[in-house]
Symmetry: C2
Subunit: 365 residues, 2 copies
């Protein structure tokens, strides 16, 4: 029953193969971020049915994926000291869970938890490569101070994420963002080594930079998450085509307001999320492009507004095309602005062409 999430498994496989081929050419391992799909079923596709190294955004993900045999995990959100008990519990289970931090305060907390538990918790130092969020600046004296404060724990290496690459609009800008991400991480790793600290891991990545990166010298692993599904934001920055988008929300037409040029559906923001990432891009796609159940989008038809459980479909402003004829009861698909946010509104996926097959998600914290 609508609304529900629909996944095109063939497109997921194609998207995975594309990034794998790119990174294999560089000989660099992928540590996919499972925060987008939050699904063990999708993660298995990433490893040919098996398991492998993953990145998570919550400890709930770490615990759920550990239950399914994924034991090499980076928790890529700066650690809150109160969460270290759960980290220790996972490591006691044999999970190689690695935490992230960018301050001496966090490093001391990790060292104390390591001493108290008798388990040396490994940590990556977050590197700020583009001013997007957290992280230490390359060259900052904070870097070695954090490394020193980790005595008793384990300094595993460094991690950078080029969050600003989501706002690049040319191939050249993406390549530069990828190189800046690599250079910042490698610089901090080299500074640590020069100061006498082992720094085996140099982890970089985001979906845009992972696809654009031309040089991976000094990098030991690449992270990316969104690429399994892709979305309209990624299509807007040219990382994928609309045809690559593997995720959509199926909704049903429940009414018409012809005098307003509106088609009403039973899919509102509860089903799509409030994410309007394309509103900051050159082409604003509203709440999403609208497509038939099987096939490419109707030209110029957008989901233009949303209440909690109502969607409004109308033609793109300025379009001279007529509204398509979609009678009450018709099911259509809405392609998302942001796959991570849209998927998070649901607890499972249905598979296109495989009625009854569902993949579950690991929501919550």
């Amino acid at each position: 029953m609508t609304p529900y999430l629909l996944v095109d498994e063939a497109k997921v496989r194609r998207n995975i193969d594309r990034l794998r081929a790119h990174l294999d050419a560089h000989g660099t391992p992928l540590r996919p971020h499972v925060k987008t799909a939050k699904s063990v079923d999708v993660a298995r596709l990433l490893f040919d049915g098996g398991t492998g190294p993953i990145t998570v955004s919550t400890l709930r993900e770490a615990e759920a994926f550990a239950d399914e045999g994924f034991t090499d995990i980076v928790y890529a959100v700066g650690i809150a000291p109160s969460k270290l008990d759960r980290v220790v519990a996972l490591r006691r289970r044999g999970v190689d869970l690695v935490v992230l931090l960018d301050s001496v305060v966090q490093a001391r907390a990790v060292a104390e938890a390591s001493t108290a538990s008798g388990i040396a918790i490994p940590a990556l130092i977050e590197v700020d490569c583009d001013g997007h969020r957290g992280g230490v600046l390359p060259g900052s004296p904070e870097v070695t101070a954090i490394a020193a404060a980790l005595a008793g724990a384990e300094l595993r290496g460094v991690l950078a994420h080029a969050g600003e690459s989501y706002f690049c609009y040319t191939r050249d800008a993406l390549v530069k963002a990828a190189e800046a991400e690599r250079a910042a991480a490698v610089r901090v790793a080299e500074d640590l080594r020069a100061a006498g600290f082992a720094c085996p891991v140099v982890s970089i990545g985001s979906t845009p930079t992972a696809h654009a990166v031309a040089d991976l010298t000094g990098v030991t692993e690449v992270r990316a998450g969104n690429f399994v599904f892709f979305d309209l934001v990624m299509a807007g920055i040219g990382v994928c085509s609309v045809d690559d988008i593997a995720l959509s929300v199926v909704v049903t037409v429940i009414g018409h307001r012809p005098e307003k040029g509106w088609i009403m559906t039973d899919g509102g923001w509860m089903a799509t999320s409030r994410d309007r990432g394309t509103s900051r891009q050159p082409t604003d796609q509203g709440y999403g492009l609208v497509a038939p159940l099987d096939g490419p989008p109707f030209p110029d038809l957008l989901m233009t507004d949303a209440s909690q459980e109502h969607g409004i479909l109308s033609m793109r402003p300025g379009s001279d095309r007529p509204l398509p004829d979609l009678p009450i009861g018709t099911q259509v698909r809405v392609l998302p602005n942001h796959a991570c946010a849209t998927a998070a509104q649901h607890d499972s996926y249905r598979l296109a062409g495989h009625a009854g097959t569902t993949w579950t998600r690991v929501n919550g914290w």
Copy 2:
């Protein structure tokens, strides 16, 4: 462990008492919309521990609340014909579930499902009082055509929702929106009666208009949902004060970027939702006002940006106050733009002052 939803039960009770007192003065029953809290525990507070008439936004809510003894339910989203099997199943269980529609096509589908099942499904005709979404226009010939097409089902009455009242900014505008909502619904009910149709129910409401309405002549019930929690959008239009907001998201400080004026937290849009309803109001509150665990908000401190699992706190643009000193590990609360959307990112509530007590939500469809 953060992030999590926190509810102040005393404020919920105060908010309920306020609307009850207002409607009791008019002698008009309340049919609360449970779509905001989606919680049987909150619904019981609305009925002094018992049950009563409710409005739902999904059939999942209808089924879950029916399981807990709520048997008088309006499903206030235009019915998709494919959902009528679940409607019939609920009515077979003894639930007086009423559907909503605004077209002859839907009315025929409801009549056919009634005939096929031997169960007359009751329906309300949706009335458009302000151009916000769906509904028939008062005076339209569609009104009696829909009523006629329901032969074999049951015409229960009419329903209007003043969705545009969310964009009113004066008491006078709110009172006018409430009167327009009442007048439109009563007009359609009178037209139906004049055409020989029984129209026992005249249902109106939204949180802003339910609080502003001065005349309820001809109205048999008032709906409102958001008022149990309230939020910054409601405070922005003057329906409540910031102190009335009963819902917040508890997050933990995980870092600082003093050179940018940023405090980083572990609560991103996954915890708050992407809803930025106040961005269209005179005072933009970012992703929310920030408050200590117990007490009113820090002056001028906002959650100004969000990644999936990261929040950025900073001072309101133009503020000359210093950033408060919130060390790593400090827990703070973020008051939401839109309680319905923020609560939907979680599967339960924790109760302030009652460690360990949780209320569960009914998410999904």
